[in-house]
């Protein structure tokens, strides 16, 4: 039985909709963000509900065979996972945020950059003509530039409404983010036929990015 880790939060609906459209009805009665472990005997799948940030660990260690996780988390934690597919729906963007575009320092200048993605932030800053001290936070990233903890922030933006309501602007899109279907290397070999069948069906349903 394949153990598939599903994300809580924003990527769950996108994952269920994509698999449903591909004729792989993952959802079973009682499945929600609060169910921990659910069986779908018809599909031969066990569903595990995990927070995005924990999901790569479970899949990397083989506790789960595969899972769906945002590319932002995947790139931040680098779990040596295979990325079989990026989903079209559920996407957002990783953006540079500030009170105004002038918050970006001049070449050679320095700023403070608040984020919950320190590795992605370091890579981004390394490619800029200015430097930044990375201020690592675990949530409410937008508050940092708003209240002066940092001049800039690097965070997920979906609609931009929260930013606009709080007097912040999206200065630049750093990366497009999508939910990704990932699998560890050992499970890929073990379940290759079924996984390839799923991928083909997801592609045929045009839910792949």
């Amino acid at each position: 039985m394949i153990r598939l880790a599903l994300p809580k939060g924003r990527n769950l609906d996108a994952a269920l909709a994509a698999f449903g459209a591909a004729g792989i009805p993952l959802a079973v009665p009682g499945l929600s963000s609060r169910s921990l472990l659910t069986r779908n005997p018809a599909l031969g799948v066990e569903l595990l509900s995990l927070k995005d940030w924990d999901l790569p660990l479970y899949v990397s260690r083989g506790i789960a065979d595969c899972g769906i996780v945002g590319s932002d988390v995947l790139e931040e934690v680098d779990g040596d996972l295979l990325v079989l597919l990026r989903l079209r729906e559920g996407g957002c963007r990783l953006s540079l945020i500030g009170r105004s575009p002038e918050a970006v320092p001049a070449p050679g200048g320095q700023a403070r950059l608040a984020t919950k993605y320190p590795n992605l932030a370091r890579r981004f800053v390394a490619a800029q003509p200015w430097g930044a001290e990375i201020v690592e936070l675990s949530g409410s990233i937008e508050l940092a530039p708003l209240l002066g903890l940092a001049e800039l922030a690097l965070d997920i933006v979906q609609t931009g409404r929260t930013l606009a309501e709080n007097g912040l602007v999206e200065i630049a899109t750093v990366e497009e983010i999508a939910p990704c279907f990932v699998v560890n290397r050992a499970s890929y070999q073990r379940y290759r036929g079924r996984l390839n069948d799923w991928i083909s069906r997801l592609e045929a349903a045009k839910v792949a990015a």
Partner: protein, 321 residues
């Protein structure tokens, strides 16, 4: 005074039963290696960094624990047995009878910063065969590895087979100036990123091998030989699952026009294999041919070897080692 009992991230102590179990397994395996004509070598845990800078191990540098000793020398903790063994043996080969069969055991320490669950200290046991070129050497090492590992994994061993440079021609043809980037996408099995570039590479992602061996260009003959080797090993070790998957080693190149892949043992230049046991998702061992490592040290000798991470293998096959 309170003394912390915690250990640094990525290391673990083996106490009592787990230590006994590891030593018992190690004893059985070394006995088997000696029966097969392999003699033990004991290598130091500390070495200079400098000699390895010129060898084909550049992409492994990030994982080396290095420091400056009191004499100002830059030293490293052992992160891989094979390059150290090659450096020590290469100048002595002329006076040694070939073929040479060696085995080693001990810890390797690697910096695993970001990977979840990354293990920084591994207890390895490995074998090296020098002076047996071609299929014969590869057959001996692979069979020995399978004999040792399958005895512990007991029907739960998967072995992925491939070879260095298998996809080089396809990657250069389709890579549009950046074949290393395409190789990384193939290695991650990202069909979407590969579809637009190359249909033969897409087939490799889906099936592990191309539609026809000839699609690989000059590497076709090696694929045919590897297919035969797999069939032979599958017949000898029916409890082991074998997967011929060239995409698994897409980052291991021979063509200098492609930058060496990150995270691979970059010295392999022929057969490569990697093993998984039980439900564990991290490899419990692997190996391959590495003639060019000796070549870089001025020694012209055929070299093939394997290593087994004993603690990982025992962990994967019935609880912590």
């Amino acid at each position: 005074m309170r003394i912390s009992t915690s250990l640094p991230t990525g290391v673990a102590a083996l106490l009592f039963e787990s230590a006994r179990r590891l030593r018992a397994t190690e004893g059985a395996l070394t006995e088997r290696l000696e029966e097969a004509g392999y003699g033990e070598v004991i290598l130091p845990i500390l070495d200079y960094v400098e000699p390895y800078e010129s060898m084909a191990v550049a992409s492994s540098r990030a994982e080396i624990y290095r420091f400056i000793d009191r004499d100002g020398e830059v030293l490293a903790l052992r992160s891989d047995f094979t390059p150290m063994l090659a450096r020590l043996l290469a100048p002595r080969l002329a006076s040694l009878p070939l073929p040479l069969r060696l085995f080693y055991r001990g810890d390797v320490v690697r910096y695993e910063a970001q990977r979840p669950g990354g293990q920084r200290e591994l207890y390895q046991l490995g074998g090296e065969l020098l002076g047996v070129p071609g299929d014969e050497g590869e057959r001996e090492i692979l069979a020995l590895f399978l004999d040792l590992a399958s005895g512990i994994a007991d029907g739960h061993l998967q072995v992925v087979l491939g070879f260095a440079g298998a996809l080089d021609a396809l990657l250069i043809q389709a890579g549009a100036g950046d074949p290393a980037r395409l190789a990384a996408a193939v290695g991650r099995r990202e069909r979407g990123a590969v579809r637009a570039s190359s249909s033969p590479l897409l087939r490799v992602i889906e099936r592990g091998v191309p539609e026809r061996p000839e699609d690989l260009g000059p590497a076709a003959a090696t694929l045919r030989r590897l297919t035969l080797l797999r069939e032979e090993m599958a017949a000898r070790f029916p409890a082991v699952s074998f997967h011929l998957d060239l995409a698994e080693f897409a980052g291991c190149h021979l063509d200098p026009r492609i930058a060496s892949g990150e995270g691979e043992r970059p010295y392999y230049d022929g057969l490569i294999f990697r093993a998984y046991a039980g439900a564990a998702a991290v490899p419990v061992g692997g190996g391959g041919r590495y003639d060019r490592l000796f070549g870089a040290l001025g020694a012209d000798v055929a070299a093939v070897g394997f290593s087994l991470a004993l603690d990982r293998l025992l962990d994967a096959c019935g609880g912590p080692a």
